[in-house]
Symmetry: C2
Amino acid sequence: MPEPVLLKLGGSVLTRKGGSGEIRYDTLESVSREIGLRGAIPLLIVHGAGSCGHPEAHRYGLMQGLTGKNREGVMVTHRAVSRLNAALVDALTEQGISAVGIPPLASCYAESGRIRSMEWRNLREMMNRFLVPVLHGDVVMDGERGVTIVSGDQLVVYLAGVLGISRVGLATDVPGVLECGQVVPEITPESADRLCFNSSSSTDVTGGMEGKVQELVRLAREGVRSEIFHVSRLGAFLDGEPHGGTVVRAG
Amino acid sequence: MPEPVLLKLGGSVLTRKGGSGEIRYDTLESVSREIGLRGAIPLLIVHGAGSCGHPEAHRYGLMQGLTGKNREGVMVTHRAVSRLNAALVDALTEQGISAVGIPPLASCYAESGRIRSMEWRNLREMMNRFLVPVLHGDVVMDGERGVTIVSGDQLVVYLAGVLGISRVGLATDVPGVLECGQVVPEITPESADRLCFNSSSSTDVTGGMEGKVQELVRLAREGVRSEIFHVSRLGAFLDGEPHGGTVVRAG
């Protein structure tokens, strides 16, 4: 059996920035085709919300939890990202992949913004049977706050851990983690502290990328290496070939 | 805080029998109105699939598990019952209820046809916050068979147990458990064995009802009483008044 792969597709890869939840159907199709070409591999996909969910979560203040006034935002935000999930599942299905949409609102429980428990035995069984679960960053119930937002990147770290997946790839809209315009080829827990996320080169490193690296450093500490690359290099990653991106690993 | 309620809506209540997945939108509306009239109560809803899922599950032989040939049936069956779930969630939302669809394919794992584990802490949190989770009988991954079908009734028993819910009601298209055309007012684990499910009066007691009583007797053995009544008596059940149906309880 080929080695299991956990693939994260960035929200900014799948949607256009700037508000109205515009899905990049051409990218959904090209990504799905790359995956479909590789035939049956045990694969789990997590995607970000991009402009299908982030604007809604922000508007209703869901990061701060459930208040008397933002209850409606739970459903509105979940529906926005579910729409993107359904579009990706459809695109994958078109390419002959047995994709199954899995909403974390249904399967995940958090406390103080971090995943506390989650059903994952069904995901392992799907991967063993070459069904491809497709999860996403989502609104999740939180025992402290009522609700929280669990990012796709947090899901990647949690699921790679519980499922014991050691091939983790993150397809983004940049060629890797950038510092002063250059790809950083390798990051370790030690070197991560020296990255100039907040320096003058911060235009190259979005807040999103800083959060991503923090999550992946957690993973590296658990001994799981991960790779960040431009979505156009997805085929190279899947084939285990050089992709010109960043590897995050234990020192 | 009012006592938490677990309400099961039968598949035959919400859909028309005979094939093509016809949803009874008028019933969805009247049921939702009855619930909405009671204001905020900690409520969890489970519904059956009826003709939105059963014909598909049967056609692909999903009860017997995953074979080389019926993989497509997982998605087709799940999609059919998801459509009914979305319609019910919409109808509840129309009546001002904060309903959230929860697909067991995402949150549940079975072995040999019985639920082995399931994320439920998120459901408890929803009920505490007056969000109403709406689950349904579904295709579920099974560690022995690949997939199985978990009925709404099995979900009722599992969830009442883990969530510690002691008010359980099942709205059906008959006035209660019938024997020789008469409602049986009370069933205990002992008396259940004497019910004439397979006698000449079996036209009154469908196979569906026999399975239901088996599940509810499991629940009674754990000390949880449950009530079976005609859907037109839903208001009476919610108000804790006589509904003319059957009570299943420990002896």
